[in-house]
Amino acid sequence: MQAHIKGSSVRNGAMWLLVLLGFWRPTAAQHITGEVRVAEGGVLPGVNVVVPGLERGAVTDADGRYLLERLPLGAHTVAFRFIGYVTETRTVVVQADTTVTLDITLQPATLQTDEVVITGAGGHTAMLNRATLSVSTLEARDLDALRGQTLGETLEQLPGVTTLSTGPSIAKPVIRGLHSQRLVVLNAGVPQEGQQWGGEHAPEIDPFAPARIEVVKGAAGVEYGVGAIGGAIRVEPRELPTQAGLGGRLMLNGFSNSRQGAGSVLLEGGSRQVPGFGWRVQGTARKAGDAHTRDYVIGNSAFEEFDANIAAGYHTERFGVDAYYSHFGTELGLYRGAHIGNVDDLLRAIERGEPLVDYDFSFTIDPPKQTIAHDLITLRSHYDFATRDRLELQFGYQRNKRQEFDAHRRFGEPDEDPAFALTLTTQTLEAKLRMAPRGHFFGVAGVSGMNQANRNTESGYLIPNFRALTGGTFARGTWISGPWTAEAGARVDWRWLEAFPRENLSRGDFVRRTHNYASFSGVIGGIWRFASAWSVAANLGSAWRPPGVNELYNFGVHHGTAQFETGDPRLGGERSLNADVTLRHATNRATLETSVYNNHIDGFIYLFPTQEEVVTIRGSFPAFQYQQNDVVLRGLDGSASYRLTSWFTAGLRGSVVRATNLDIDTPLIFMPADRATVSGQVAFPDWGRLHLAALEVEGVFIRKQTRVPTGVDYAEPPDGYALLNLSYHAELHLDNLPLTFSLGVQNLLNTRYRDYLSRFRYFIDDPGRNVVLRLQVPFGTVAR
């Protein structure tokens, strides 16, 4: 590497140019091959052999042999996965122009079988057998291509997932039209508990930390408990190293639109003295200035974020314990022009259609703003019995501190005195017993408990202080035979809620109110692999959630929307019954996954406009009351890719949601518009030091949302729009240092648009063109 640096700058420049364009001298390729056997004797065909870091894979043939072709130089982790057997991983160092032989013997699964079915894995078999419910995943390689964006924006790559955004810095994932309290987000195995009732409250997760994200679409109450009415998002950190070594990676991003810089450093290692001990530390920083639309700066949309996580684990043959701590901290500005006084102000701002002021670009974050600190500790442990059944225990502690600062504050400093501040503390405890396969059957059963406390600090008051105790128990079983998989499960949960609202919701003394809720969740499902490359899965699931404290006790004006919202302490829970059919196809050339669903929700809680306005000294506000109706959300979503030639792959994904309030026969408000994304990827052959180079062009088409209730919204839904995105990515191998980089342009044509699910669409356009540069450098060697 030094030789290159010392070379003449002209020659270097020319080489870099050639390297970047992908035209450099070719070299011979290197491969990994081997045979997979089973402990009982004999070879095992159909095993998925994947390199998760590269998202490359192969399947063993009838003789149990596999070949991973044309791998880049360096250390690679290879995973061997097959249902009914323990997943094995090995790390091998691939040197130039060599073929490494790696044979493996798989042990019969004790316990991880279940995870294989629930947790999607790379490779064809795993995809076809992924789950009875519709599941989409982002693997390490997908995530690397999206690093530096918020979790919401990252998940938007998946079919059926859209975002509810509040300016450029806040993006909330929406799964099949449902979001916030109707989704469960699992971070490192623990349900993430922030102030998720707020549409402008994004999940508090470091975008550089996940190694894998899985989105479960539809009612998933048995696995994920209370709240998983619309689905679940599982965010998994990297697995800890299990062998001695020291390594890490550096990730750097630049975004032109908001002049955002983001970086993350990760260090990890294993111990030679204490075999089985592994550790990791990671630090992330992001800083962005004001974003731009095509025509103007979005005033006060700057943000900054500092995150860190530490993990350590110790594993022996039958016992394992992992500890994980993560801190997420952000300060983010909210567009100033969206800070309005009353409904007349809002209507004037909509009428004007653009900002009142020509803002100058700045990195300064002024009120109105939010600061959020989320700290999470998880302790996970497992023990394998001699019968190969496994006991798992998990403890989680998290504290979410949210402060929101108003634009101005009488008798105080707007910068220092928050308009309100809430601290939500949550402890979770879970025990699971995973049964080893017995014949064709395996299963899991467990109990879980959660203790949650919400406190307002002395300033501000938004939702009352409360304490909630939740407990549940569940059992689920899976039966696999030949092309058939069947599963069934049930769960019971109860919640006790103690809240301290003011009397009659309005001002007055604090009073103590208690509520009890209890209900069950259930699932039955099956998969049929009706042809070698095809499967169809069907799932019928039911989940529930008790009303949120905001829905019970809200009373006041919601800033930004100028709605006067009133809760209803008499609200009952919501129950969903979701039917989902998924068709899957996977070959080396083509993949397809498409689902149709019908999610019927009894007692759907939403804000219904009441006839009379609320008159206050600040003017009048349209009044909304929380109420319950039966609704149904139906839809279709899916993705497909097809490799037309060795160098060209076409892709398509899209989603359609139709949501209806059955009681009053009107569409539901704020549902995602129909959308489709068409992509084409040109892969370049390896040239010299440049590997896996590809150019991708993507067209995103969003229709205008025409299914809206009449007379509720202030402005008509915005027009449909089309965006063009372009990106080039490749790996550059400098000696043993495989450097990954990508250069992309989002909204290449600088199209002016407003999305229906942008909460600021009343005031401003969505951001314009954004040039994104990403670099990733792994260093050291660490086995996993």
Partner: protein, 185 residues
């Protein structure tokens, strides 16, 4: 097995230890917002003083009471406006007028007469901020001879935080917006 049991015991210990804090609100004033709960107009002219109050004693939501302003025709009144927060924690925070005076370059009142007396009643702001723009804490109300009838007086207080104050346009941040019934005798 011993190890998992001790882990379980540790988890249970942590769970119960961290579960003891109470969420009961300990401060009766916790979370009181900064509001304007009372607006008082005082008009002096023709040898008498007229006051009218808009009062929303429990803050936003229910029960706003607005008194009728009764004026005599042919009289020009000298007016002032006072704003109060009767829910404030601290006595010095009760008088919001003082804060408007301090930040008069960020505020402006707008007085708009409506109804049948619209043409006979003229409100003129008489005070100015440091930039020579009207504020509206002081004003005059001129009632023309013979223009009796009923109508309304709408009082708006605009806060200028995002867009600059120019003396004529309202802002998008309205601090108060109250309409008083008006009778001219």
């Amino acid at each position: 097995m011993k190890r998992i049991l001790s882990f379980f015991a540790l988890s249970l210990f942590l769970f119960t230890m961290s579960a003891c804090d109470s969420t009961e609100p300990d401060d009766p004033h916790a979370g009181e917002e900064e509001l304007i709960t009372r607006v008082v107009l005082t008009l002096t002219g023709g040898g008498q003083t007229v006051t009218a109050t808009a009062d929303d004693p429990d803050g936003d939501g229910v029960g706003i009471q607005t008194e009728t302003i009764v004026l005599q025709n042919g009289v020009t009144y000298t007016g002032s406006i006072a704003l109060f927060n009767d829910l404030a924690d601290e006595p010095e925070e009760e008088n919001v007028t003082a804060e408007i005076e301090d930040e008069d370059d960020e505020h402006q009142f707008f007085y708009t007469v409506g109804g049948s007396v619209q043409n006979g009643v003229t409100v003129t702001i008489t005070d100015q901020d440091g930039n020579g723009l009207p504020v509206g804490l002081d004003y005059t109300v001129a009632v023309a001879n013979g223009s009796t009838g009923t109508g309304t007086l709408n009082v708006v207080l605009s806060h200028y935080d995002d867009g600059p104050k120019n003396g004529t346009d309202r802002s998008d941040e309205t601090d108060i917006d109250v309409t008083f019934p008006l009778t001219v005798q």
